[in-house]
């Protein structure tokens, strides 16, 4: 039995018929072809699949697409605006916060939610916030710096023209 759902993803409403067991991560990746959301485990442990549901981070590998019916989802593809990188994306680039890039979308979305709730987090708060996201490449230190970079930029936007 298929269910008809409407999910707003990155501001665009999508309606689709889905199997009730379809995971949100597969809905995003396979149905909508938004492959920036990744899959790294089977046990809700790694956070590679993290997206924002109504602004709050969830692990989309442990969430059914039908549960997202009527909600709004933000994925990595929704971070940049009008071709301009979001400060969090800039921060990851500036501070070398990514290597293979597989954890990066999930990390950035969790960071976005953190900074919206707490614009000036301590290092400890950042580390705690991203502790549900594994990174195998960076050792986290530059991810922390990247989020700090973004926090500064969001608090004091760059002068116009930059």
């Amino acid at each position: 039995m298929e269910h008809r759902i409407t999910v707003t993803v990155n501001g665009v409403p999508y309606t689709a018929e889905v199997e009730p067991r379809l995971l949100l991560v597969h809905f995003l990746r396979e149905t909508l072809n938004l492959t920036g959301t990744h899959i790294g485990c089977d046990t809700t442990s790694c956070g590679a699949c993290a997206v924002l549901l109504d602004g709050l981070p969830i692990k989309s590998c442990t969430f059914l697409a039908v549960q997202a019916d009527g909600h709004s989802v933000t994925t990595v593809e929704g971070l940049a605006r009008d071709g301009h990188l979001h400060p969090i994306q800039q921060g990851f680039k500036e501070e070398h916060g990514l290597q293979c890039g597989f954890c990066t979308p999930g990390m950035m979305l969790v960071a976005k939610a953190l900074l919206e709730e707490n614009p000036d987090p301590t290092e400890e708060q950042i580390r705690w916030a991203i502790s549900g996201n594994l990174c195998r490449c960076t050792g986290y230190q530059n991810i922390v710096k990247a989020i700090q970079w973004a926090a500064r930029r969001l608090r004091e936007p760059a002068p116009a023209g930059r």
Partner: protein
């Protein structure tokens, strides 16, 4: 004002990474992101038993499920002579089991279906009748008489013994031990762990029924070698095989071997005439693909006074059900005989035996150059043990036994020729930055208060950049690597290499090499890797070999183009070549610097106005056969506090001094080191793949196989010394693995140091709270 090299993004510049632009937008293209028209999905059925005979496999219910296109068993593959494949160590490995299963998680059958969900459903419907057999998981027991025989498929194989291997000089070493006034011994197990890149392994096999061309997208660190192996194993013509390694979500050695899933998916595509995608899940990744380490080691130092005069090592390697170590053919345990480390030891001998057990195969170099990690760990642990026995400070003991700067190039007792080093300087810098003397005082003070602090040091030497063709090959393929550089008429360039980045930043660093050598801005150089139809042959990226091999090739090919450019510039300026001076990016006439041609001018002329008789164009290829390996080194120093109640320990300070020669991009180098320090911490503290008596894998998912998160990962303080490699064109040495190799011993030494005054000399990794608690109890330190 920015220097010329800064403007160009040359060697030494902290250039932001080119590849980041797509990754931060979610526009990378990893294997699972690729979709081909008509693509089918494959799922593998794995064995629940560690050792069992297969009586029968019934696929009828699976085949009947709507959406299922095919079900393949070992018997189906056997009909095409594909049920077994060779391993990278010259053994054989089952692709899909035919006779029996030999480890839990082994591949038994595969379903190909229209959707991944249907494929997973159908796998559950396959009925396998197993007859469980006695299981052996301990390599020591595996070598006892009467142990269950794992490899009864191999004619003449009557025990679980795989090899005996020796290196060094047994007699000289025995003599050194006879004449020693003290012998220090350490027995320890470097546990089985798994590289666990965040992206699992997978492939899409696309055999075109019209042309016969087999294109396989694959999560591989070594696409060219895979193509040749595929051709040799199947007899499929090599020009009809194209391996494409797309963006890779981390490799760490896990993506070097050829896995059964790749072979089955390719066979399925060939049989069905449609593309077949296979992406393993995490349990499949952790239970069946290349594990690392699992060495039981005994090391002994012969001492005369405070000098090491001999080293003797015995290793028992647990290789699981198939001997599949990814390593150079010549060696049975990789480069383990770098085990004399940073020390000037006149006599050394090492012997090793390997055993089959009912565990997954692997033996991959997990962020490591072929077992240098186990070797480095053992010698750094041994040296600390010896210092305790002598009552000498462990740092001072190292200083007295280091190879001195004036001894390089240094030939070790095992025959390696270390290219360059300055171990004293790296150690001194690390101790200064750590505040070693102050921590020693605090340690005393803490002890008086009943708290346990420990200071651990590891002064590692790596051996990377495999390698020179006289010694190094994998399945006969010599371990050179390559770079092909083509400068377009407008002065932009494309550089193609035989390696494959998995996060190391090759798209940026290789371009920096061209920028330095040719003066073309790094942003104007596109770097391509991973597609065997479009890149020159090479053995791939692992063992920290990219910079020492392909990096060198990039420099050499750029220099060759510079020489051709000189001819064209001379033609344009109407002077003789000898009258030209090169400064980065341009040739000018000696004595009149205003008369010059930029490399871009020359590039255009190479297609529009070249001297008669000169071949048009500006491109070349270099296959670089390194004259020697490179030997990065450094000192890691760690302070920990151990909780006497829980056995938990926590790093308070981590200082890393790395010397990887010339740094092409210091930002990327530091990123590699921090990543390695984190993985080293994970290996020391928590990462463990173990097995119960029935061979059930404990550590088959991320709930059991613990990886460090941002929360417990310590902060790292990085410093450098620079001792260039004398034989690398840029003086670089490679750095991707230094910290994974060197740091586990530093963490463990620190924990042991906290307990050493009470007599504790060893706790096997990982140093989980229960193991540390047991050690505390054993010496009456537990609270």
């Amino acid at each position: 004002m920015a220097t010329k090299l800064e403007e160009l993004g040359g060697v030494g510049v902290r250039l932001h990474r080119r590849e980041d632009d797509r990754f931060v937008r979610g526009k990378g293209q990893y294997l699972d992101d690729i979709k081909l028209p008509g693509m089918l999905h494959m799922e593998i059925l794995r064995s629940p038993y560690a050792h069992a005979r297969i009586r029968s496999v019934d696929t009828s219910r699976a085949k009947a499920l709507p959406g299922v296109v095919a079900v393949l068993t070992g018997q189906d593959l056997a009909a095409h002579n594909l049920a077994w494949m060779p391993t990278l160590s010259g053994d054989t490995q089952a692709v899909l089991a035919t006779d029996k299963v030999r480890f839990q998680g082994q591949e038994v059958a595969a379903v190909v279906a229209e959707s991944p969900y249907v494929a997973k459903d159908a796998v559950q419907l396959i009925e396998v009748d197993y007859e469980p057999l006695p299981v052996v998981v301990d390599p020591r027991k595996a070598l006892e008489p009467g142990a269950p025989l794992v490899r009864d498929d191999k004619p003449g194989q009557t025990t679980n013994h795989i090899y005996h291997w020796e290196a060094g000089d047994r007699e000289a070493t025995e003599r050194a031990f006879r004449e020693a006034d003290r012998v220090v011994t350490l027995e320890t197990h470097y546990p089985r762990c798994h590289p666990a890149p965040l992206e699992c392994c997978g492939c899409i096999a696309d055999v075109n029924p019209a042309t016969g061309k087999a294109t396989v997208y694959m999560t591989t660190q070594a696409p060219h070698a895979v193509r040749t192996v595929f051709a040799l194993v199947t007899g499929y013509p090599e020009h009809q095989i194209r391996i494409v390694s797309p963006d890779i979500g981390g490799g760490f050695g896990n993506k070097v071997p050829v896995y059964p899933g790749y072979v089955v998916a390719t066979a399925a595509s060939l049989l069905l005439g449609r593309p077949v995608k296979w992406v393993e899940d995490r349990t499949g990744n952790l239970t069946s693909t290349g594990y690392a380490r699992d060495f039981h080691m005994k090391g002994e130092l012969a001492l005369k006074g405070d000098r090491i005069v001999g080293l003797r090592v015995r290793v028992l390697g647990d290789h699981g059900a198939f001997y599949a170590d990814a390593q150079p053919t010549k060696f049975k345990i990789g480069l383990f005989h770098i085990v004399s480390g940073s020390y000037d030891i006149p006599a050394a001998f090492c012997e090793a035996d390997g055993a089959y057990t009912n565990k997954a195969p692997g033996g991959v170099a997990y962020r490591c150059s072929f077992r240098v990690t186990e070797a480095s760990f053992l010698i750094e642990r041994l040296v600390q043990t010896a210092a305790y026995e002598l009552g000498v400070d462990p740092a001072e003991f190292r200083r007295r036994n280091f190879i001195r700067r004036d001894q390089f190039p240094y030939r070790s007792a095992f025959g390696w020729v270390y290219d360059s080093g300055d171990y004293h300087r790296a150690l001194d810098l690390a101790l200064e930055k750590l505040g070693y003397a102050r921590w020693r005082r605090e340690q005393e003070e803490a002890r008086r208060q009943g708290r346990l602090l420990g200071i651990g040091i590891a002064s590692f030497t790596e051996i990377v950049g495999a390698g020179p063709s006289h010694t190094f090959d994998i399945l006969g393929l010599k371990m050179f690597d390559s770079a092909e550089l083509r400068v377009h008429p407008t002065g932009k360039a494309v550089l193609k290499l035989g390696t494959r980045t998995q996060g190391q930043g090759h798209e940026t660093t290789y371009a920096q090499i061209v920028a330095t050598e040719l003066g073309i801005p790094a942003r104007d150089v596109e770097v391509q890797e991973g597609d065997t139809d479009h890149t020159p042959y090479g053995l791939g990226t692992y063992a920290s070999r990219s910079t020492p091999t392909s990096g060198a090739a990039a420099a050499v090919v750029a220099r060759r183009l510079r020489e051709k450019a000189r001819k064209i510039a001379a033609h344009l300026l109407e002077v003789s070549e000898d009258d030209l001076e090169w400064e980065t990016g341009r040739f000018y006439v000696r004595g009149s610097p205003d008369r010059f041609k930029t490399i871009q001018d020359v590039a255009l002329a190479a297609y529009t106005n070249f001297p008669q008789g000169l071949e048009p164009g500006l491109e070349d290829v270099c296959y670089y056969d390194p004259p020697n390996l490179t030997f990065p080194f450094g000192t890691y120093a760690v302070v920990v506090e151990v909780d006497r109640g829980t056995g938990q320990w926590r790093p308070l300070q981590v200082v890393a001094v790395d010397d990887c020669g010339v740094r092409i991009n210091p930002m990327i180098v530091e990123g590699q080191i921090m990543g390695g320090l984190c993985e080293g911490y994970g290996i020391a503290a928590m990462q463990l793949i173990t097995f119960d008596e029935q061979g059930n894998c404990i550590g088959s998912n991320f709930l059991d196989y613990l990886l460090p998160t941002a929360w417990e990962t310590p902060r790292f303080e990085l410093y450098e010394t620079v001792t260039p490699s004398p034989h690398h064109p840029l003086g670089a040495k490679g750095v991707g693995e230094s910290a994974t190799v060197g740091s586990p011993a530093a963490y463990v030494n620190a924990v042991i140091d906290a307990l050493a005054h009470a007599g504790v000399r060893n706790i096997d990794m990982p140093l989980t709270p229960d193991r540390v608690r047991a050690a505390l109890e054993s010496v009456g330190l537990a609270e």
